[in-house]
């Protein structure tokens, strides 16, 4: 197992490098002089000279990439001129908020999605299956940002159950209960689409597995139907559900952008949108690389779980 994890970690290195190359190339598409583009309204001749010296912006593209990569490897993501602080500090501050939101959402969509899929498959064509299929269809069709807005209207404005926005109450908040109240709506809104996609996938994976010969064997042994579905079928179905979970984690992580805008959540997504609108290029660059790298690491974790689940993989 350790060998497997190590192999996966090593194989992630080229992917991570590829990510930096792609981000770098995309950012190199910005027209005009890179120093002026990065500095924007701060582009005084001194600043331009300073940034050219530190980032090598007047050097050829390839050289610039390696200078940038070298800086990042030492933890130096550059400086945000608009915010006047190191990019990495800003990202780390914001990322924890995004992790709380996206992490909760991911757990929600994984549990709800798999559960809905299992019930749907176990009761194929029954009323529960129909109801779930209908809700799932709505879930995957409604834009998360619109869903978030409608939730605000209903649960915050009409019913006054939950706060409209933010991560903590401005006065007297700050504890876990306060966080939970602020988190409920954004986490659900963010989870909706992924839940739907996972539920669909889980349903068809379960149906596929329930037709397998080893399920018939379990029944022939006299295993109870509940156990057949929840133990035999679900475990086998998880093998094909897990990759979907990994994929959906990416959607949840990046879809947090919309939800953070709607609920004024102080996360990386909102930071990125602000940075794009302010043309704070180093912040965008750093933020994108950071989040993408986290996603790559997460996917390794998914692979490892897959390896634990399916003994045939290690061989």
């Amino acid at each position: 197992m350790t060998g497997y994890i190590l192999r996966r970690l090593v194989s992630a290195i080229p992917v991570l490098l590829g990510i930096t190359v792609i981000v770098f190339l995309i950012m190199a598409m910005i027209p005009g002089d890179p120093a002026t583009a990065i500095l924007g309204s701060y582009a005084t001749p001194e600043n331009v000279a300073r940034i050219n010296a530190s980032l090598g912006l007047d050097k050829p593209l390839v050289q610039r990439y390696f200078i940038w990569l070298g800086h990042m490897l030492t933890g130096d993501f550059g400086r945000s001129y608009a915010l006047n602080r190191p990019v990495l500090d800003e990202i780390l501050d914001r990322f924890s908020a995004t992790m709380v939101l996206a992490g909760t959402s991911f757990v929600l969509c994984a549990i709800l999605g798999v559960l809905a899929g299992v019930v749907s498959a176990a009761r194929q064509y029954g009323w529960a299956d129909r109801a779930i299929t209908f809700v799932v269809l709505i879930g995957i069709s409604v834009p998360s940002f619109f869903l978030g807005m409608m939730m605000i209207l209903i649960f915050a404005v009409r019913l006054k159950w939950l706060p409209v926005s933010g991560m903590y109450a401005i006065y007297g908040g700050g504890d876990l209960a306060d966080l939970a109240r602020h988190l409920a709506m954004p986490a659900l809104a963010l989870a909706a689409v992924a839940t739907g996609v996972i539920a669909r996938m889980a349903r068809s994976a379960m149906l596929e597995v329930l037709r397998q010969d080893y399920i018939r064997t379990a029944r022939a042994k006299g295993v109870s139907e509940t156990r057949v579905v929840l133990r035999h079928a679900l475990k086998a179905a998880m093998v094909s559900i897990l990759p979907v979970l990994g994929l959906q984690a990416g959607f949840v992580l990046s879809g947090a952008v919309y939800i953070e805008m709607v609920f004024q959540w102080p996360g990386v997504g909102r930071m990125l949108v602000d940075a794009i609108l302010k043309r704070d290029i180093l912040l965008v660059q750093g933020g994108v690389v950071f989040v993408a790298a986290c996603y790559v690491v997460f996917n390794i974790a998914v692979d490892v779980v897959q390896g634990l689940l399916d003994p045939r993989i290690k061989a």
Binding site: A122, R216, T217, R219, G222, Y258
Partner: protein, 622 residues
């Protein structure tokens, strides 16, 4: 094509989606012709007019602009942008995929590596990066959304192209001196086009949603121009005071995406042959039983099948897999059922414990009695309690029939604990004992093995151990040795024979091989097209087969107990059991067939213990 459309229309939801999206597109198309208010004229005196206000059917927005005309124009814009993005992604992605798949080798490798890198990004993040570089704006948002969808098309089309590139017609084109461009355009493209079109139809809704999303963030369309996303984004500030200005564009996006999704699902289902055949149905815990009456006969053995009828109902077609089969097995006796694949022998075996996949299987008549109790009328819980405990199965191909993700030990222990509340340690000891009984070397370490870590012969021993572990009275073995080589087969057979003699087991042994029957079975029943055509003691039947079909089957085994085991030597194919000819089902393949054979029912008769279903048997059974 028309069949496809019919299927699509039969799916009511898909049809509904089709109608809605057609309506929206039509509306968007005729928008310029409609007598609408000007969309960009601001009128602060009429800010946030509610829906149904005079002059503004849907009310006005934060600048007093007419929402209806903005909605229609926004819809038009969103549909256009989403469609163009989908087309752009499809064309670029497919081109990349075709080039990679067609040229293969290094080109393919480099391209696909790049595509994999792109897919390592969380999707929306990549779009954000592209917009960040190009700057906010609708065209840039479109490019970004198209770009992040390129990998999807590239991957799918590459896979397809790789398959096609190796086919003869491409080679032929190459040999005839056609250039690469010509081959790609005239030979490859027409073949991958349908997949591209399906790809577009399933992603276009998604792309509309994504461009709307970027606009919502303020990174797409810029004022005064507004697509649905930026309408929603602008209305957000007034969400609480004037919810209608958010609800109107939001519902429109929802309707568009949902109708496209419905249509897309319908298209996918209509193209999936498995759905039609019911192959995607979940088999119930026990086969459905729908019989009119239960035949009453005195108990003859530990397992009695009386006039059993099992059918497969697929759509309107009925396949009569098991047709009026009666069999009796006594304790300590081994009864063989032999026949070609499709003869109904396996379905007969599975019907006993309600293990025929259902749907499509239905038991439509007869009775199955274990120790005099009719198993078909048992409640699910009672049937479950007997499965594995009283009547156990050994299946063919244990790689498929053992669960791949549980250890052998787990599966054996579960078999015990499904019937007895034994502590785990004791169950484990019992499992170990069983593995020893079926002569598996190093049983202790084998308990921790997964099925894929064992050889076929060892796996089948595990299958036998699992069947025997609760000391059942009846074992139903469904071609347990077919996947094994001859030596292993002989070992497994002698193991079964030994267990039977030691424990007084009744065995119902399903096979297509008379050689196997000769080694193990006391009596044998020959099945053809769902019916028993001959029955009797093994030795007598081997010596003097009465039915022409039996004779052929025996002739297929060159030397009993060894050699080639195949039925391919019988000319002709077994009949499809939904169109049984009248009279003898074997008539089309029978050398002795007469006019009389094709008329009326032929009874299974003869002097006990033999019986045959033939008008002109080989030798009168004595």
């Amino acid at each position: 094509m028309s069949g496809f459309l019919k299927l699509l229309l039969r799916n009511r939801l898909a049809a509904l989606g089709g109608v809605v999206i057609t309506g929206i597109v039509a509306l968007a198309l005729v928008t310029p012709l409609l007598p609408l208010q000007p969309p960009d004229v601001t009128n602060t005196a009429e800010r946030f007019a509610r829906p149904f206000s005079p002059g503004h059917l849907l009310g006005t927005d934060n600048l007093g602009r007419d929402l209806l005309s903005r909605l229609l124009l926004g819809t038009r814009l969103s549909l256009a942008v989403g469609t163009v993005a989908a087309l752009g992604a499809a064309v670029t992605g497919s081109a990349i995929g075709i080039v990679a798949g067609y040229f293969g080798g290094r080109t393919d490798n480099v391209i696909m590596r790049l595509i994999d890198m792109l897919m390592a990004f969380p999707y929306i993040l990549l779009a954000l990066a592209i917009v960040a570089a190009l700057g906010p704006g609708l065209v840039n948002a479109l490019i970004a959304v198209a770009a992040v969808n390129v990998p999807f098309f590239a991957r799918n089309i590459r896979g397809l192209t790789v398959g096609l590139a190796g086919r003869e017609f491409i080679d032929a084109a190459r040999l005839s001196g056609l250039g690469h461009t010509r081959i790609i355009l005239s030979e490859l493209l027409p073949n991958v086009l349908p997949v591209i079109v399906i790809g577009i139809s399933t992603t276009v809704g998604w792309m509309i949603l994504e461009t709307a999303g970027l606009s919502f963030l303020g990174l797409g369309s810029q004022p005064p121009q507004a697509d649905l996303g930026s309408m929603l984004g602008e209305a957000r500030a007034a969400l609480i005071t004037a919810p209608h200005s958010s609800v109107v564009p939001g519902i429109m996006i929802f309707l568009i995406v949902m109708s496209i999704n419905l249509l897309g699902d319908g298209v996918r289902d209509a193209l999936d042959p498995r759905l039609k055949s019911g192959a995607l149905s979940r088999p119930r815990a026990a086969t459905r039983v729908a019989r009119e009456h239960v035949p009453e006969v005195p108990q003859q053995g530990v397992l009695d099948l009386q006039n059993l009828e099992t059918q497969f109902h697929v759509g309107r077609r009925v396949y009569r897999a098991v047709n009026d089969v009666s069999l009796h097995v006594k304790p300590g006796e081994c009864l063989g059922i032999i026949g070609e694949s499709g003869s109904g022998k396996s379905v007969t075996a599975l019907s006993v414990m309600g293990l025929v996949a259902s749907p499509p299987g239905v038991i439509t008549g007869g009775a199955v009695r274990h120790d005099g109790t009719d198993l078909l009328s048992l409640r699910p819980g009672d049937l479950r309690a007997r499965r594995g405990a009283k009547v156990a199965y050994i299946f063919q191909d244990p790689l498929a029939t053992l669960h791949p993700l549980f250890t052998i030990g787990d599966q054996l222990i579960e078999a015990i604990r499904s019937h007895r509340a034994l502590p785990k340690a004791q169950a484990r000891a019992r499992a170990l004992e069983m593995l020893e009984a079926v002569r598996i070397p190093n049983p202790e370490s084998r308990l921790e093995n997964y099925p894929h870590e064992m050889s076929g012969g060892m796996r089948q021993r595990v299958g036998i151990a699992m069947a025997m572990i609760n000391e059942p009275e009846v074992i139903i073995a469904d071609e347990p040795t077919t996947a094994l080589d001859v030596t292993v087969q002989a070992q497994i057979l002698s193991l079964l024979d030994e267990l039977r003699r030691e424990r007084g087991l009744a065995i119902l042994f399903i096979t297509h091989d008379f050689g196997v029957v000769a080694q193990l079975c006391d009596r044998v029943a020959v099945m053809y097209a769902g019916r028993i055509v001959e029955e009797g003691p093994t030795m007598q039947i081997l010596d003097a087969p009465a039915h022409p079909y039996t004779k052929r089957l025996i002739a297929c085994v060159p030397e009993l107990g060894g050699g080639r085991r195949t039925l391919a030597a019988i000319p002709g194919l077994p009949p499809v059991v939904d169109k049984l000819p009248e009279g003898c089902a074997f008539a089309p393949r029978c050398a002795k067939a007469q006019e009389a054979c094709r008329r009326g029912e032929i009874a299974l008769e003869g002097a006990a213990p033999r019986a045959v279903r033939c008008l002109f048997p080989e030798e009168a059974p004595t």
